[in-house]
């Protein structure tokens, strides 16, 4: 009976951590101060089962697979135009309130137009030159899930 319980537990853990909550370790400074290097978190793969990603969501964007993923915040939705002027983010020409951005910057970039299948993602740490900050338009199918914690 104990063996059966252990087997059930193992299978449950496998399914949960493989297909529902994907464990990740944060690396890099892109999402500071919201998330720091070394923090452990989970990606909720089922977050977008019933609705599409929303602005402000922190999501993981896969590269070739899910061994290494980008962790970014969605600021631009499909069809929207994103631009940065004197560090302020603009969506369709309107300033976007971003209380999570603690480090001021002077980014000048854009406009970037998201197609019907693209989301504009960027890190919270804007305290680095624009060209050194990995960001841009991510196709919907690359968004693996939403950060759980």
């Amino acid at each position: 009976m104990t063996l059966v319980r252990i087997a059930v537990l193992v299978v449950t853990c496998f399914i949960t951590f493989k297909f529902v909550l994907l464990p990740i370790r944060v690396e890099g400074i892109s999402m500071e101060p919201t998330y720091h290097t070394g923090q452990v978190n989970f990606i909720n793969r089922l977050a977008y089962l019933h609705h599409e990603p929303q602005r402000g969501d922190i999501v993981s964007v896969r590269l070739a697979g899910d061994s290494i993923m980008f962790m970014k915040r969605i600021i631009g939705l499909p069809g929207e135009t994103v631009s940065f002027h004197e560090g302020q983010t603009f969506i369709n020409g309107q300033p976007l309130d971003e209380p999570y951005v603690k480090n001021p910057c002077s980014w000048e970039a854009g406009p970037f137009v998201c197609s019907a299948n693209e989301y504009y993602v960027v890190g919270d740490n804007r305290n680095m030159p624009f060209k050194f900050h990995t960001q841009g338009r991510a196709e919907r199918e690359r968004i693996v899930g939403k950060l759980f914690l």
Partner: protein, 165 residues
């Protein structure tokens, strides 16, 4: 009990046979993936690697590419940079092996798609690079095209993929 033992034994024999079959007659996908892993091993060297090791790796490196191979790298800072032909790739490799303090290259999430004639293959993967003893690493999504030439799988094209456009 005897039946259970026999079933377990049968399952073990089938598993062993299946594994042996895979080892003796690997699929084209496995052969290509192995080739990519071999490339990663060839271009990786530790910081304390001597000149002989570096020279040996530098001479092996171009052998993974076809004569007319092309490498296209789209760098956010430097723009698109292209190496055309095995000679240019060799020169770039020689420079890298001579100058870099050390290099550890890994191909992650490798997906191999073989053409219907089994003579060409596409490889998608994430390249993970550590230079020297650096704690940080770089990642880049990559796409390779390989062709079977004279029995060897050679890279005909390698290019960076823009994950975020």
């Amino acid at each position: 009990m005897k039946l259970v033992s026999r079933l377990v034994l049968l399952a073990a024999v089938i598993t062993l046979g299946w594994w042996l079959w895979g080892v003796c007659f690997p699929s084209v996908e496995k052969v290509v993936a192995k080739r990519m892993a071999s490339l990663a091993k060839t271009v990786s060297f530790s910081a304390d690697a001597g000149n002989v090791t570096r020279l040996a790796k530098a001479s092996d490196f171009p052998g993974y590419f076809s004569v007319d191979a092309e490498i296209s790298v789209d760098d956010p800072e430097l723009g698109v940079h292209t190496l055309s032909g095995r000679d240019e790739i060799r020169d770039a490799g020689n420079g890298g092996f001579a100058v870099l303090p050390g290099l550890k290259v890994t191909f992650l999430d490798t997906t191999v798609t073989v053409g219907p004639d089994k003579q060409v293959a596409d490889v998608s993967c994430t390249l993970r690079v550590v230079v020297g003893n650096d704690k940080d690493y770089g990642v880049q999504e990559m796409h390779f095209q390989l062709k079977k030439i004279d029995g060897d799988w050679l890279i005909t094209r390698a290019e960076t993929v823009k994950t975020l456009r």
